[in-house]
């Protein structure tokens, strides 16, 4: 073990923080929250523009803000936070020094410089190309360069994580296999390396094309490779989010996995099959064979979807079993009724699981079905879907973890605890509304990325159903609620870091910050089922899934014949 002065032991949780790792976790997390704040404000402007009664921004500002919002939240908020999680799950959970802190600093610097360069390019106004930057529409070279620098930084950070795992193993800082949460983070890091390689393969030529060194880029090739990057990066988010779910279940309930084997196998399925999914973005593109589409869009017969369905059961299942072991063993749902609903770490994760699964998961599988994509592609349904997955699911999970990191990592108390308990509900409810109403409007054909669905300045026009206007209005109201919830989070966290009561670095605080680990699930549950309540919830989920899936086939069967 390295020099003990380089480590701080948290008196409340017993976790050991390597000081350089600790600083880097803090920095990455704080920068992430700043991007979330900026992105949330931009989201408000977008929501108020797509609310027909308000229609706030002008067209060119709308497209600029849309590009910026997509990139700031989807890439910078999420990935900066993920890097903090990678360092936490490697260095802290394995009680190991961070490999090459200098490289980790370099990674951070590159990411920050890249993000700022890219933001400035967008703000200057000639890079309103959306985060997908489909060729042959061209952005300023600085736009691509910023993204590339950021990606290189993220790649280095992923290697620092892997290096830390190697050191921990070599120096035997832990016994046996690595913890499940670290295993999940490892999954994320492996996918990240594949992802960033795809990003480099497509963004570097695109950059060279933007400065005139390459003649042109084939649009279909661009879309296939870009999505190998764009979609896989969602799998990094998935894997990290699930790791955070397991982490919070352990922190709040001392939950152990129902079985290590099942959870880890499900992560392995992610590594094996998630990358295939770039296909579901090109289901209605010209010239791609259906056989290829079917195999890829289903992630090889839905094996990766299966993995997510497994995590969707095993996380709440572990929470249930742990609660039962703690004495809430009556009936089907005592464990849930008596859960700590006012603890924002728990409620955040619980809402994340429910919203991710019911709204994001189901809609994603449905619209990723080869033929059903015909009635959904590029409508507002698509942003509806990913505001349920990454914008609510992943974001809420990260928010939940942050409430716990404030005292543990930053040694400050969260200010205004009452407001903090309320915050996940505000954000979760608002964002669910945003997602649902976007999906509803999309079902009625409302296009995504569209400034004027009344077509006021065109020679021809189209009248969308009245209902669509109403849905967009409801979306606008939900946007307000979501922004209040999201803004409250940023204020609470920044406020706590600046003004929260300091906690001692050496003495235990009065509120416990981590639950005693449960060691076995012997004797809980009903019959031989340790988590019967969760199984019931899972069956409700499946029923909703099956019904909604076939309703969409029905919708499809009513439109024009196509072949």
């Amino acid at each position: 073990m390295a020099n003990n002065n380089e480590f701080r032991t948290c008196p409340d949780t017993g976790l050991q923080f390597h000081r350089p790792a600790e600083t880097l976790m803090k920095l990455n997390a704080v920068v992430a929250v700043v991007f979330l704040l900026v992105g949330g404000i931009l989201g408000l402007l977008l929501g108020l523009t797509r609310w027909p009664a308000i229609h706030l921004l002008g067209a060119s500002d709308f497209y600029k803000v849309l590009t910026l919002h997509g990139i700031d939240v989807l890439i910078y908020w999420i990935i900066f936070f993920e890097i903090a999680v990678l360092y936490f799950t490697s260095s802290t959970l394995l009680k190991c020094r961070l490999a090459t802190p200098r490289m980790a600093w370099l990674a951070f610097a590159l990411m920050l410089i890249g993000a700022v360069t890219n933001n400035v390019a967008i703000l200057q106004g000639n890079s309103s190309v959306m985060f997908t930057s489909y060729v042959p529409m061209q952005a300023d070279p600085m736009f691509y360069l910023g993204l590339i620098l950021f990606a290189v930084g993220a790649l280095i950070a992923s290697f620092v994580f892997l290096g830390t795992l190697v050191i921990a193993r070599a120096e035997k800082t832990y016994e046996g296999s690595m913890p499940l949460v670290t295993f999940g983070a490892l999954t994320a890091a492996i996918i990240a390396i594949f992802t960033i390689a795809s990003g480099a393969i497509i963004l570097i030529p695109t950059f060279l094309w933007s400065v005139g060194l390459i003649e042109g880029i084939d649009p279909i090739m661009y879309r296939v490779i870009w999505w190998a990057f764009g979609h896989s990066s969602q799998q990094i988010n998935m894997a990290t989010m699930v790791a955070v779910w397991y982490a919070v279940a352990a922190v709040a309930f001392g939950a152990k996995p129902l079985s290590e084997k099942m959870c880890r196998s499900a992560f392995l399925l992610y590594i094996l099959f998630l990358q295939l999914a770039s296909a579901h973005h090109i289901l209605v593109d010209p010239g791609i064979s259906s056989t290829w589409k079917i195999f890829n869009t289903s992630y090889a017969m839905y094996l990766a979807v299966l993995a997510s369905m497994i995590h969707g059961l095993t996380v709440p299942g572990a929470i249930e079993a742990a609660q039962r072991k703690r004495g809430f063993n009556k009936g089907l749902f005592e464990w849930l009724r008596k859960a700590p609903w006012s603890n924002p770490s728990f409620s955040g994760v619980f809402l994340s699981i429910i919203i991710f699964g019911f709204l994001g998961g189901i809609s994603g599988v449905v619209m990723g079905t080869e033929q059903i994509n015909l009635i959904i592609h590029n409508t507002l349904y698509v942003p509806g879907h990913f505001h349920a997955t990454v914008a609510t699911g992943t974001t809420l999970a990260f928010m939940a973890l942050t409430y716990w990191l404030v005292p543990v990592l930053f040694r400050r108390q969260v200010i205004f605890p009452k407001l903090a308990s309320l915050q996940p509900y505000l954000f979760g409810l608002g964002m669910s509304g945003v997602a649902l109403f976007m999906m509803g409007a999309g079902t009625l054909g409302i296009p995504r990325r569209h400034w004027d669905i009344t077509f006021a300045d065109s020679p021809l026009t189209h009248n969308f159903p009245e209902m669509a206007n109403a849905l967009l209005g409801f979306m606008g109201v939900s946007v307000l609620l979501a922004v209040v919830g999201g803004g409250l989070f940023c204020l609470l966290i920044v406020g706590s870091l600046l003004f929260g009561k300091r906690l001692s670095l050496t003495e235990k605080g009065e509120t416990p910050l981590i639950a005693e680990p449960v060691t076995s699930y012997e004797g809980v549950g009903i019959g031989k089922i340790v988590a019967p309540g969760t199984l019931v919830l899972a069956m409700v989920f499946l029923t909703a899934f099956v019904l909604y899936y076939f309703i969409n086939w029905k919708f499809l069967s009513q439109t024009w014949g196509l072949s």
């Binding site: 067209a59 060119s60 497209y63 042959p136 529409m137 016994e175 046996g176 690595m178 913890p179 649009p219 982490a247 352990a250 922190v251 290590e260 099942m262 959870c263 209605v284 593109d285 010209p286 010239g287 259906s290 589409k293 079917i294 289903s298 017969m301 979807v305 299966l306 369905m309 497994i310 095993t314 079905t369 033929q371 994509n373 009635i375 592609h377 590029n378 409508t379 079902t443 009625l444 054909g445 296009p447 990325r449 569209h450 400034w451 300045d457 065109s458 020679p459 026009t461 031989k528 089922i529 340790v530 899972a538 499946l542 086939w553 499809l556 069967s557 024009w560 014949g561 196509l562 072949s563």
Partner: protein, 179 residues
Amino acid sequence: MSSLLPPPDRIWWKEPLERVELIWVAIALVWSIVMFFMMPYWHVYGKQNVSNEAYKTTPEAFKAKTEAMVEQYTVRTETAGNIPVVRPPVGDVYLLARLWEWWPILELEKDQSYRLHIASLDWQHGFSLQPANINLQVLPGYEMVVTVTPNKSGEYSIVCNEYCGIGHHRMIGKIYVTE
């Protein structure tokens, strides 16, 4: 041990599974297989499938083919910009996308099948036929051929739903379907 700590059994892959996990995996696996087979099933029995037919093309070539059709089959023009309305016989029909219009306006007959060729002359566009809600990606350099069979008469709009620059929200076209 909790998920934050190393598992007690070093050899975690030999640990027994919980019964609740087995039940759920079995159910979820069956459902995954059902969903998988729905796609090939629909290729055989369904009436709405994505076409696999596409050709490489150039803006000039595609424009020439579309213009030839317009020349031959225009029945009238509409709007101040005199957009041609074309009523082609059953067979091959052409629709081009460019900044920021769908050209020309097509007039088709209900329950007839047409081979609709679509390509972009410049950037990427999104063909979104409303209210039928059929959505296709339109790329420059690729000519997609979809066989369409309108099942209801009326006026349809083609909205552009792939962002294509500052005139994106003005890009709208028409298809009329007659009895």
